[in-house]
Structures are given as C-alpha cells and as structure tokens.
Amino acid sequence: MNFPKELKYSKSHEWVSYEQDGTVLIGITDYAQKELGDLVFVNLPEEGDGVTAGEALGDVESVKAVSDIYSPVTGTVAEINEELLDAPQKINEDPYGAWLIRVENVTDTEELLDADAYEAFTKEENQ
C-alpha cells in the first residue's frame, strides 16, 4: 500500500494535493480503491459547482457498492478529470495520478492527516 508523503489525507479516505497555483486536487487513496474493488462508474460534480468540507462531492460505483466520496475542502470546482468518466478503472490503476476534481477558492478544510498518521489510521480500521 502506497502513502505518498507530499499528500494530506482525510479519514474518509480522500487525498488532497496543494498545488502551486493555489488550487487543490482531490482523489481517493490507494487504500480506498483497494477496499472498493474494481470501479465501473464515477459521478463527479460540474465545473463551477460548490463543494463543502465533509459533504459528498460525488460517488463511485464498484463491483461491490455505490459509495459516496466526501470533499475534504470547501470551495469551487475549477476542473473535473473528464478522462475518468470513460475510464473509471484508472482510479484503480493509479489512485494518486487519477485526481477527481480540482478545487479553487478554498475557504475551509477538514482536519487532515499526514502520510504517517493516515497509514496508522488505515491499520486501525482494518482491525
């Protein structure tokens, strides 16, 4: 299991990357994609939509279930990764490359974990 040091993590298994231009990329973690299994569909918000920290930003359907994805930040959707709409399996193949949305005008952030704390958290969850 992979936990890149440069990312921050939410307890609902999303990752956050702070970009140099002030925007934020959000994806789901390697742990999350393994738990979900093979993804067959992803529902994302639209550009210009607002997202709220702790609330669902969209959902993914895997062979196991439909599951909500929660936004770790409050802000405005600047861009969505349209490639995933046709190829959701890219999230399984490369969870940290396959970002879901780019958020701008971030005004609020959930409490996030660093890589070590998140790794420890996933171990607790699995017990």
Binding site: V40, F41, N43, E61, S62, V63, K64, A65, V66, S67, D68, L85, D86
Partner: protein
C-alpha cells in the same frame, strides 16, 4: 461491535417507489448493533441500477403500456425485473456490522431449507445448479450500508425477457451495462412454494444465522411523511430519467413518406441536440423536426404535442408518424 438486535419489517405495499423509499428510511434509522431484514414485493417493475440508462436497459414504453413501472434504486449494478412472483430482501446495518457473507448465508439457509442446492456464485449472485435465482446489490452512505436482492420464486420470465431486451446498437451511453444471466424460478424445484413460505423461512434463517430473536417493526413506528417524501422523489421523472448520464441515440426507419435517420444527444434526460435526415422531397421538414425535439424530455409525453406545433398540415402528419415510431422504439 457485534450484532445485538435483529429487526424485521414486511412492506404491505407493492408500489416500487414507496418500497424503495421505505428501504432508504430504514437505512437512515438503523441503530448501531442492529440489523434490519426488510422484505418487500413490487408489482410489475423494472428496477435499474443507480448508474444505468433507463432506455438502454428497458423497453420503457412497452413496460408502461402494460401498466408496469420503471424504478431506479440507490445501489449499483444491473437491471432486474420484479413482479409478485418475486420476493425482495434488504439487510440494513451500520458499517461495522456489515457482513456480506453472513447476510448471504441467511438467504442461502432459507432457500436450502426447501431442499434446494443454493450457493453463492461470485460476489453478487446466488444460484442453484448454476442458474441465478437472486441478484444482489450494495449501497453505502457514510456509516450506513445495505445489501439487497431478489428471490425469484414464480416470476414471469417471458415478461422479464421482453422488458429487459433492448437492442444494443441504437443507443450509445455512458453508465453501467447489465450482464445477462441464466435465471431460474425456485418453483422449478418446489412447485407449490408460496411467497409466504419463503417469508417464514427467511425470518427463521435470519434468527438462526445471527443467533438472536428477530423482533418486528410496526408500520406505525415509521414516519409516513418521510417515506412519502422519498416515494415522490424516487417516482419523479428527474430521478428515474433525468440523471446526468449522457447518451446518443440513433434510429433509421422507413416511414410512409420516406426513409429517415434521427440522431439525438441527450443529457439529464433532455434532448440537447437533434438531427433529422430524410430522402423525402420536402427539404423543409427535417430541419423543423430536428429543432422541435430540442429541449424536450426524451421519450416523454411532451413528444405527443410536437406534431400539433408544426405549422403545415403535411408536417403535422409526418411528425406524428415520426413521433409514433420513436415512441415505439423506446
């Protein structure tokens, strides 16, 4: 945490929207440590998965003409057919108590109690001699989870085949496709099996597998208001047809006035772009017809009003035939 309370609820309704709303209500109200077994039946209904295209999975017009309903559920997966020969179950729990193997064991044990060789096949199917009698699907929101499925006892397989059989090449859509399975009614094994027998067997197996005595939930304990609100939402055109899943539709047909090719781009259930081509000598009609479809709800009764909106009598007639043909195909 382990299970400390078993509850069960039998729906007295056969309305799919009411029943799916009840399922959502029970999910929102399941307590930590509790597992609810919810048992329900729908009158003639095709239920599609959360991320499916209604028209791609179901002959909607034919189903509705026969008095049936199309419903969309919260869980993923493929389209299934329900009627009163089918019994549905849902296990509703918090995530720490969610156990697909245990829940499936309840169904298997109930079915096996009739001497039927039921087993789990893959992740989502319960089968007997390699034929599926129960398709299962799963949903999770926050800490709340459910597993639900069908149990085919004496379902009308001919209707199932008819409504779910859609020619694939005409409609190109994003979303999740259904997988065809060999299916079997359990009455093939036990000819006199009644729905009530299976209800009783499920309840018995639920208690045995979980090691607790299930207690009934009464209808008066549920909020009719909340369930009614959910039923309206699940029955709405927006929820059933208006999902954002975009698709392309194409039809080529020989009509009385010429050959016609129709192409639609649909998003959120609304025709966003429409093009009509024809070899007929009327050069005006195809353009006007295409324009008329833009902005309408795909396949809805709004199409019935389109012929009347054309200015020329010949155009009204042509449009009526075109709309009739498109509705026939959808």
């Amino acid at each position: 945490m382990s299970l400390n309370k078993l509850s069960y609820y039998n729906s007295s309704s056969t309305d799919p929207y009411h029943n799916i709303a009840t399922e959502e209500y029970l999910l929102r109200h399941v307590a930590p440590g509790e597992c609810i077994l919810y048992v329900w039946q729908n009158f003639k209904t095709v239920v599609i998965g959360y991320n499916q295209n209604a028209w791609k999975e179901c002959r909607v017009r034919e189903l509705e003409a026969d008095g049936g309903s199309l419903a969309r559920r919260l869980s993923g997966g493929g389209a299934v057919f329900h009627d009163l020969g089918n019994l549905n179950f849902t296990f509703l729990v918090r995530s720490t108590e969610y156990d697909v193997a245990r829940q499936s064991e309840v169904i298997l044990k109930a079915v096996q109690s009739f001497g039927i060789p039921a087993m789990r096949d893959g992740r989502n199917d319960l089968t007997a001699d390699g034929r599926k009698f129960s398709g299962n699907a799963f949903y999770r929101t926050g800490d709340y989870c459910y597993q639900h499925g069908t149990i085919l006892i004496r379902a009308d397989m001919q209707k199932m085949e008819r409504y779910l059989n859609v020619s694939a090449e005409k409609l190109q859509s994003k979303g999740v496709d259904s997988v065809k399975s060999r299916v079997v009614n359990l009455c093939e094994y036990v000819p006199d099996m009644q729905i009530s027998d299976m209800r009783a067997a499920l309840l018995r197996a639920f208690g045995e597998v979980c090691g607790l005595e299930p207690a009934p939930l009464s209808e008066s304990g549920l909020s009719a208001e909340e369930i009614g609100e959910g039923a309206r939402r699940f029955g709405s055109w927006e929820w059933r047809f208006g999902r954002r899943i975009p698709f392309q539709y194409e039809m080529t047909k020989k009509l009385s006035w010429g050959e016609v090719l129709v192409q639609f781009h649909v998003a959120g259930g609304i025709v966003k772009e429409a093009a009509v081509w024809s070899d007929c000598l009327d050069v005006e009609f195809p353009g006007l017809a295409g324009e008329a479809f833009v902005g309408t709800r795909y396949g809805s009764e709004e199409w019935d009003e389109l012929p009347g909106k054309m200015e020329k009598e010949t155009h009204r007639e042509r449009m009526a035939e075109l709309v009739g043909c498109l509705k026939e195909e959808n």
